[in-house]
Every structure is written in C-alpha cells, then in structure tokens.
Symmetry: C2
Subunit: 345 residues, 2 copies
Amino acid sequence: MNKKKASLKDIAQKAGVSTALVSYVLNGKEKESRVGEEIAARVRQIAIDLNYQPNYLAKSLRSGRTRTLGLIIADISNPFFANIARIVEDEAKKNDYTVIIGSSDEDADKSWDLINVLINRQVDGFIIVSSEHTEEQIQYLKNRNIAFVLLDRYFPDIDTDYVALDNYQAAYQAGMHLVEGGYQHVGFVAYRSQLFHMRERIRGYVDALGGSEAGYCAEWLTEVEFTNVDLEVRAGIDLMLAAEKPIDALIFATYRLAISGLKYINELGLNVPDDLAIVSFGQAEAFDLYYCPITYLQQPMEALGKTSVDVLINKLKDPQQERKQILMEANLIARNSSKIKVLVD
Amino acid sequence: MNKKKASLKDIAQKAGVSTALVSYVLNGKEKESRVGEEIAARVRQIAIDLNYQPNYLAKSLRSGRTRTLGLIIADISNPFFANIARIVEDEAKKNDYTVIIGSSDEDADKSWDLINVLINRQVDGFIIVSSEHTEEQIQYLKNRNIAFVLLDRYFPDIDTDYVALDNYQAAYQAGMHLVEGGYQHVGFVAYRSQLFHMRERIRGYVDALGGSEAGYCAEWLTEVEFTNVDLEVRAGIDLMLAAEKPIDALIFATYRLAISGLKYINELGLNVPDDLAIVSFGQAEAFDLYYCPITYLQQPMEALGKTSVDVLINKLKDPQQERKQILMEANLIARNSSKIKVLVD
DNA sequence: AACGATTGCTTAAACGATTAAGCAAGGGGC
DNA sequence: GCCCCTTGCTTAATCGTTTAAGCAATCGTT
C-alpha cells in the first residue's frame, strides 16, 4: 500500500539496464534504437508489474508540450458555455488532450489573468470566447506566437483563426420569421457591447425589418449591460411596450437575456404569443418547458465545439496551417411562441 | 516579437549571477539566503524587464506539487454540476489552485479513466462526485494515499472525507410539505441507483408518507435508468397516474428528472398544481419560468462547493487532518406548484 | 594576530523523462 | 588478419526550477 509512483529509474534498476533503454522500449522505439527482444519484453513486464505511469510533468518539461488546451469562456455556469465546454472536453480527449477551463465573466482583466495563468501552466494552445476589450490580449498571443482559435466571437479587424456563428444571417432569419408571421413591431434585446457578434445580430435584426426607412424604429432596440441584466431588461421591455408603436414581438439576443425577459413577461401577465411573440438565440430546457414553447435559433454547438478543437490541434501539429475562418449557420426552430399572427380587424 | 520565454538562466546571465541567487530573490528568500540588497534589486528589475514568468512544470517537477485539483463530476453540461464547477473554480483560484474538470457520465469506466489521466497529470488532489460502482476507485485513492474529498455523494461504508447534502431530511421535508398541504397520494421519481444519496432520498420520502403501513404505496415510486431517462419517466408517470390510488402530487429526485417529467406533464395537458402538485430537488431557471413556479429544494451550492475545496486544501496542507464529514441542509422553497390543496367535496 | 562568525555568493544535485552520441563486441567480406 | 558494419547497450546532456552545501572574503573579538 501507499507505494510511491514507479519511475523509469525504478524499472531500469529492477531490469538491470539504463533508463534510456527503458524509455526506448516504453515509447515503442525499440526498432530504431536496436533494443534486444528479450530485454524489451522483460522491461515491458516490469513496467506492468510496477504499474508504471509516466510523469507528464517530466515529459512536458522535456518536450515543451503539455497536451493541454486552455478554454476561456465567459461563465461555465451558463448553459451555453457549459455545453460548449463539454463538447470541447470530449473532442480534446479523443485527441489525447486535457482541457483547463476558465471563466472570465466577460471581464477583460479576469481574461488577462486567465491567459497568464494558463500560459504559465504551459498550455499548448487556447480556445477563447473573447470578452469585450480583449483585442490587446489576442494581439499579445499572436505576437508571442501562441496558438489559439477564437470561438463564437471574433474581431473582424484582427486576422485570426475563428469558428463562429453567422450572426447576421441568424438575426436576419429571426427577424424575417416574425415579419413574415405578420408581426409589424418587432423589438430586440441585446447586450450593450461593441463585440462584433452582438453588432452583427443587431445589424441582421435591423435589416430584416427593412432598415430605418421602412419598418425599423429605434425605440424597439434595447441594449443592456452584462452587469445589470435583470433591471435593464425590465426597463427596456417597459419602454418598448410603451413606445409610440408598441412592440408585438420580441427577439432576445442571448439565452440569458431571454430567461430574464421571460420572467418579467410572466410577471406582467402578458400572454405569449398573443400579446407578445418571442424568438430567442440559444437553446435550453427552459424554452421547452415554457407554457408556450419558445422559438429559438439553434446553434450548431457540436460543430462549433468540435471544429474549434480540430482547428487548434491541426495548428499545433503544423503551425504553418493557413488561417481557418469558419462561419456556421443557425437553424431557426419555429414553435408556438412565434406562430403566425391572427389579425384582429 | 515572438521572444522565447525568459528563464531563470536568462536573468542570471544578464545579471551576471547564478540561477540559485535569482531563484532566492524571486521567491522572497533573500533574507534567509543572505542576498545583497543591491543585487536583489537588480535581479528583480531584470526579471520585470524580461517579463519573467516561472515555468510551473519545472516548479512542479521539483516540488512534487502542481497546485492543481481534479474535479470529477457526472456532466459539466448539467446545470447542477456546472454551478458546482464554477464555485469550485473560484474557490480554488482564491487559493492559487487551478482546477481540471472531467465528466464521467455516471459511468464507472470513464471515471477510472479520468482518475488515471488526472493522476498522471499529477493533480494534488481530487474532488469527486462519485458514480455508481466506483467504491473500488475510492479505495484505490485511499490506498495510494492520494488526497480527495467526496462531494454531494458518499459511501457510508467507506471512511472518507465528504461534503454532502442531508438527503434524508431533504426528501422527508419535501414529502411532509406535500402531505401537510393536503396531498394524500404523493409519487416520487428517482434514479434506479444504489448510490447512497439516492437511497436516502427515497427513504426520506417513504418515511414522510408514514411508511408502508400508513400512507405509502409502492406503486408511487418510479426508478429510472440514467441512460433512458425520458422514456422511463413517461412510463413511470403513466403508471403512477393509473395506479389504484392515482397520485395527486409528485416529487422529482433531481433536476434532470424534473425537466423530463414536466415536459411530459405538459404534453398530457395536466395542470400544475390542480391535477398534480410538484416538488423537485435542485434549482434552475426553468423552474422559475414555468407557468406555475416550481417548489424546489434549494441546495446550498455555494457552501457545498467552497467547503469541499477548503476541506481538500486543508488536507493537502496537513495530511494528518482529522476526517471531515459534513452534511448540509436543503432549504425548501415553497411556490405555487405545491400550494395547499383545495379539497373538492 | 588569530579565530570564529557573518555575509554574499556559487556549485551541483535533484525532480523524471528524452535522445544524440559513444562504446564494445561480434559478424562478414576481402 | 584487418577493416567496417551492425547490434545492443550506456553515458550524459537537457528541459527550468529549488535548495543543501560549500567557499571566500570581511568583520568583530579577545
């Protein structure tokens, strides 16, 4: 009981050979290194007997590679990120990589901390869901030649690998779906953020309404702070309902916003979709459970997660890889919350 | 651009001293090691200039400690575990530890794999939410003298540290709440599992109904497989509704079961709580959003997560620590889904 | 003036692996 | 019999740190 871990040295001693030979055998380099068959067999057996497990620290120190990836997300307790994390974990494991996850809380400082901690832990590369104002960090990684791929969000002005959603088309699709369903006054709740994916969602929504000249009205757009979601969502919904042309439909730009908004809509006693139709980005059990199932933009989570890992690992294998900039399409799942409007004449 | 990382050696060379001295200075051991003030200042400045970041691999290899904890949970994409993971991550970071999370899918083999991978990665200790049939793994960790603490679930027959819920009292409380609310035929949906926490929940429920002699009826208990939740939950609910004494209230033993069950209850067109009152373990946004807010047993997530980290870290500091076996109480949050039954005479 | 104590630094081993280079013995060809 | 090639192994450096031990030089005491 309580045996210390066996090292190469222990095996070497027991077999009466050098550690080098043991290393060759256990790494399957017996052929190249001309190790005798008998001694190789003996070494292998002793390794099994001693339950030898290589020390990754030593391996990594020597090789300069840890087979570890850093995954930086906003918050692991958010279902969207938790799902992504799970997919990334699984895909990484398939390739013999381990993942270390860090939550940035959409905070640039925390994100810096995480990046530094993970660099010190010698991760081989990063998968990053960028927060606002982290352009500098991305540039730093580029300059230091550290491998990374941006996931779900990217900066159009910085040339990087990324795997993300085509947010413009997704939002456009959501808007058109409501417009075609007969809704005239479609609101949109977004985060107040300069992040490109958020701007794209807003742009897609505005374009779907035909722009300012046609159907879009500035009062219908609410932008809320990350740090004060519940209160600002309430205020925004109040405003949009009290607008000159009150909204009859509402799109939420993220899952969190939708949860917050739907709670308030329940409180107000509004009926979905008769009083207010709803479409949301993201998917979640909560949407299925709602009395009126929520129409949502299904994101290709599996593909996003897997692809980001694959892109990163390929880059680690061959740093000269050409840039991979991948956009995926969201899939609108239409349900009762946005059913075709019955016109009351 | 693309500077290689600076090592102690680089600093030493630039300062014209030995690496040992640099190490002393940067670790604040100048006093004990009698390093001159001037040279210390110079070394520190050079470290800053070169943006020196210590290599954790080397540190860890030398010290035998990685300041990394392994967290094994069933599934990071399950909100309960995602929440726990976030709390553990934060508490670990406060203590300068990094966490590596692994999902076992309630599968003993995957759990073994994770434990081995993490041991090879030299984690200092484990926080484990045990799956069924993993007693052997726990015993293995004990025998190898590897630090760990069980979280949320534990084995009464194995003497270990643990931090968990008092599941008996929680389930008893849920049962009594419904009984006192006038519900006579209370059903219970649990996992078919020998895991102690699940048996305790069932025991608490049965006792609340007064046991078999009094109010409890065996037809009201449904146990479903981890691997086939949706189908078996449906079948179970069908049976409980078709029983000789059909249920008028239902307790779900976990969040996942509740989500699955509520979907079906919606499909059946049953009204909560008039046709069927509901109480569930766990908390989730979905419960708030339901047309009739769901009564739930609020688990002290924050305390569970933090305490488990603290117990583990204390054990790492002083392996002779006495056993910590901590049970916490759940808090029943009563809402409309279990409101006092209006008797129809 | 001689001795021990203190100060300020260096040397070198160690953690556990990988791997280029080297060495000795045996075999084959001429 | 000599040379070279192959076979089968070892030696030793290396990755970046920590830390016990050692070594000069200076200081204070008597």
